[in-house]
Amino acid sequence: MSKKNFISLVSICLLVLGASWGTVEARKTDVKTIKIGVAGPMKFTAGENHWRGAIMARDEINKAGGVLVGGVKTPIELVKVETNEILSVSDAILSIERAAEKVHFFMGTKRSESALAMQDVAMKHKKIFIGCGAAHPELCVRVAKNYDKFKYYFRVVINSAYMGKILFLHLGDVAKIVREQLGIEKPKVAVLADKLKWADPVVKAVETNAPKMGMELVGVWRPSATASDVTAELAAIKDSGAHIIFQAVSGPMGVALGKQWGELEIPAALIGGNAHAIVKTFWEATGGHGHYVTTQTGIGPVKLTEKTMPFWEGFVKRFNAFPGYESVTYDAVYILKEAIERAGTLDSNDVVLELEKTDYSGAFGRMVFYPRDHKFAHDLKFGPGYNTWILVQWRDGGKLVGIWPYGWEGITYEGSEKYVLPPWMVKYWKKKK
């Protein structure tokens, strides 16, 4: 590289740094607002969801005057904290560290690896941090084990242990449908999980549970999370004679999977969790071949509470996108607002005590935290009557419908429908008989 090029490169770097520093300074000067740092990978769907959910809550609250702190109505100010966490954890730590000086509270984060690191930083600064994405149990196990240090952490997403439990309940339902509708006594299950750490326990759980549930496991396929071609895997799965494909997919591979599965009309029900299947563009991205795919999420077009449908519709109208579970920041802002108002101060220790008393009926369902002596302290309480999350299925025409819970513990949310097997699958197996 010539000297000239080098100098211009350095000056560009300096300019960029200078510009970002400038905006930081500008933010610092205005006081009189409650500053909430919304942290996430802002260029990705997860971060976008965090941000969109938060600004919807902010706009509603500020329109009504703001948060009442010690008799003064104080507006909320959101600070976007770009964590870049999809690419590297170190970026995330740095941005949280930098933002910690400027904000009163944190919420957000998607990846568990970076959430753990960010949790450390936030706790060091004694900042309340409401987790809205990462679902690893460890985040709240830490609170239980070292309450004094980690008490500033709360989570409004059920942890992955419960998510897995739901998926198995549904697997049982689908196996029952396969038995009844296709007359297959022992349905065969193939597991298709992406090669990421979080999916390991899921795979293990299917391996041990499927036989107990009267199913036969025919194989586990684990392509890379970023694979763009899974036709070879799908062909192999078809060869294996599977009736059900249990997916545990968080990477972009999920889109290719939905698309190629539908286009090849693989005769096996595609169920389980697929992070990319809760994005509105999933339908467009799969060219309509994603129909009958199911996935798990925190919110859908079903009536979890009175607030669900207004939020869902408002969100779709404003952003032309479906709210993903990460937009639970919407409820998080309200929960925080109420705790602050009850505490009458922004002091972290006081607000923590009030947050622990939360019983909030939000757009994403009922929000209650496990008490500090529970093994998942400060985690979102899961169960009938509390938060259950839901499963959704894509139907022809790009419609998303809730399909679970459907009668589980007597719960069927208004707007839910029964799960249906892909018609080509029914045809294939009927013909085979």
């Binding site: 392509p223 070879a232 062909a235 192999a236 078809k238 563009t281």
Partner: protein, 288 residues
């Protein structure tokens, strides 16, 4: 059977990608890690043309190939050509370029997934194996490109000049051929290969900003396995890796995650036995 069919289909796509890369390495002596960025760009242009501008597929496809190739060649002309004597710098700059293009796409389109329509939709059963029609299209294009390249290199003046250039730049200059011009031509062909295969496989895959990463890794593995600069080697190595990938998926389902790893392992084993790759030439002493 399934291994055979999938292997041939996937191998052909890999072969086209790797041949283009080898061609560029041979003539221009650069390891261009931004190579598959143009694969991504072409797919995005295709998407823009067909979904946003509503162009006819017969206009959108050639247009996206041409534009992406032009960007690729100008990138070479204005960024890489002057620094190409410094291998390490080329690698660094080209990887920086690749991320730059990804960032550009991210800031314009965001991290959304898009899709482009297949030329022919649906699937067909071939000996009991379901294959997407688009895969047949991709296969047809790949075979045409590979045959075309072979004829071009052996039967045309420029083709022979490209082969000579990849052997000895200095002498080529002394024989009255502008090695720079030949490099540009090789660059156009190589980039053309990657953009053409992009538009034919994009309908099978998903269009997204990081779609360039997997192919460049496979290309590097293929090229190293086949022997850097050997077109025949790249061609054969492409099929070896494709077959080993498909074989793992079929016969070792529990280990499908190591699909790429196994392919890379095959590469490492071969390299341990033959460090110059299957068909590589032992590096001759560096001359002036």
């Amino acid at each position: 059977m399934q291994v055979l069919i999938s292997g041939i289909m996937i191998g052909s796509v890999y072969a086209v990608l790797a041949l283009g890369f080898s061609l560029i390495w041979g003539a221009a002596r650069i390891i261009n890690l931004a190579y598959t960025s143009f694969y991504m760009l072409a797919a995005y242009f295709f998407y823009v043309g067909i979904s946003l501008l509503g162009l006819n597929i017969f206009i959108a496809v050639p247009l996206s190939i041409v534009i992406a190739t032009l960007i690729g060649v100008s990138t070479y002309k204005f960024c890489l050509e002057r620094i190409r004597a410094h291998d390490v710098v080329v690698i660094l700059i080209s990887i920086a370029l690749a991320f730059f293009f990804e960032e550009c796409i991210l800031s314009i389109f965001g991290h959304q997934f898009h899709r482009v329509p297949p030329f022919i939709s649906g699937y067909r059963e071939l000996f009991g194996v379901r294959v997407l029609n688009q895969y047949f299209v991709a296969f047809g294009f790949s075979v045409t490109l590979i045959l075309g390249l072979w004829i071009f290199l052996s039967r045309s003046r420029i083709g022979i000049a490209i082969r000579a250039t990849s052997q000895d730049k200095e002498i080529v200059n002394l024989m009255g051929i502008s090695e720079k011009r030949v490099s540009i031509i090789a660059m156009i062909i190589g980039t053309g290969f990657v953009t053409i295969s992009s538009v034919v496989v994009a309908p099978i895959y998903v269009v997204e900003p990081s779609m360039w990463m997997h192919p460049i890794i496979m290309i590097l593995a293929i090229v190293v396995l086949g022997g850097l600069g050997s077109l025949k080697g790249s061609f054969i190595a492409a099929y070896i890796l494709a077959f080993s990938e498909v074989a793992v998926v079929n016969w070792l389902p529990m280990g499908a995650f190591i699909k790429s790893a196994v392919a890379l392992l095959v590469m490492i084993i071969v390299l341990a036995i033959r460090p110059e790759g299957l068909f590589g030439v032992v590096f001759e002493e560096e001359r002036l």
